[in-house]
């Protein structure tokens, strides 16, 4: 099977996110005064082939913990969409 993978990486809760803070201030200056807790993350997509969804999940999880996220400061999650083609 081939799966489309979407990986989301975000700073852990409590980690200062200066980018998010800046966006929050910028949004406030545009008049969106109710906005709070803005966090900026990464969205990584790719296609990957594997035996079955479980095997793919295991592999993607490893990719995330080894490279795509730095688990000292970031957390990640991912979604698999099976490619019918």
């Amino acid at each position: 099977m081939t799966a489309r993978v979407e990986v989301f990486v975000q700073l852990k809760d409590g980690m200062l996110d200066p980018q998010g803070k800046t966006l929050e201030h910028a949004l406030a200056s545009l008049g969106y005064s109710g906005v709070q807790d803005v966090r900026v993350g990464k969205w990584i997509t790719f296609a990957v082939a594997g035996e079955n969804p479980e095997a793919v999940r295991k592999q993607v999880d490893e990719m995330c913990s080894r490279l795509l996220a730095n688990t000292v400061i970031e957390r990640y999650s991912f979604e698999l969409v099976e490619d019918a083609s």
Binding site: L11, M15, L16, P18, K21, K42, L67, L68, N70, V72
Partner: protein, 232 residues
């Protein structure tokens, strides 16, 4: 050319390699050797410096891609065998990504790239790189980085402090570790740390840019002198 061979690793995007090369070359008993990131052989070097810059364009995270380059496997083995390894700026980021040093370096808390002369306090003289300094001594190295905010969990920070592995700390000219003296928001004003065996040291400031009074400070010389001796 004589002296202990010191390898300077070049990744695509490294840009302080020549500064480090010149710093090593200006140090008695040391000889500078280039190491390309694709090499799988350390060419017999007895000390290694990971220089500053933006390896692999800082893509994904600073140091994240460099950490998996072929040379790094050798560097990790060299470090684990007790060889002296110094990571400066991006080199520090690579060492944390590689797991040779604990914690991580995040985007500066005050949002800006900082580029300035910085006072540092030597908080450990128990490493190859700081043996020529006294504990509590103040030195001045330039800092130039956008992602130098050192973070680690409280337990790790306490351990680093307890084991005397905080090597460099951001301070003001009186030696006080104040919030104003902290250029990037680093936990406990930490500018540089050592690994468990103290043969691996990473720091954000640039001793390689403090090699001559002509440019404001020659305090960096002691760092390279220590490296040369450890590699002898």
């Amino acid at each position: 050319m004589s002296g202990a061979p010191i390898g300077i690793v070049r990744f695509p995007g490294t840009n302080c390699d020549q500064d480090v090369f010149d710093a090593v070359a200006a140090t008695d008993g040391a000889r500078a050797v280039w190491l390309w990131h694709k090499e799988t052989d350390l060419a017999g070097v007895r000390g290694i410096v990971l220089a500053g810059g933006f390896s692999y364009g800082d893509y994904l995270r600073a140091g994240a891609i460099a950490r998996f380059s072929p040379i790094m496997e050798r560097v990790i083995r060299f470090a684990e065998a007790g060889g002296p390894v110094l990571g400066i700026c991006n080199g520090f980021q690579i060492l944390t990504e590689a797991g040779l040093l604990p914690g991580a370096l995040m985007r500066n808390a005050r949002l800006s790239f900082v580029c300035r002369e910085q006072w540092l306090r030597i908080d450990s003289d128990d490493t190859a790189f700081t043996r020529h300094f006294q504990r509590g001594q103040l030195v001045r190295f330039p800092v130039a980085h956008g992602e130098g905010n050192y973070v680690a969990d409280e337990e790790t920070l306490d351990r680093l402090e307890g084991e005397g592995r905080v090597v460099f700390r951001y301070v003001d000219e009186t030696g006080a570790a104040t919030a104003v003296a902290n250029p990037n928001g680093s936990a406990r004003n930490i500018a540089g740390i050592a690994g468990e065996r103290r043969n691996v040291v990473g720091l954000m400031p640039h001793p390689d840019r403090a090699m001559s009074l002509l440019v404001g400070s020659d305090d960096g010389r002691g760092v390279f002198r220590g490296l040369a001796e450890a590699a002898a």
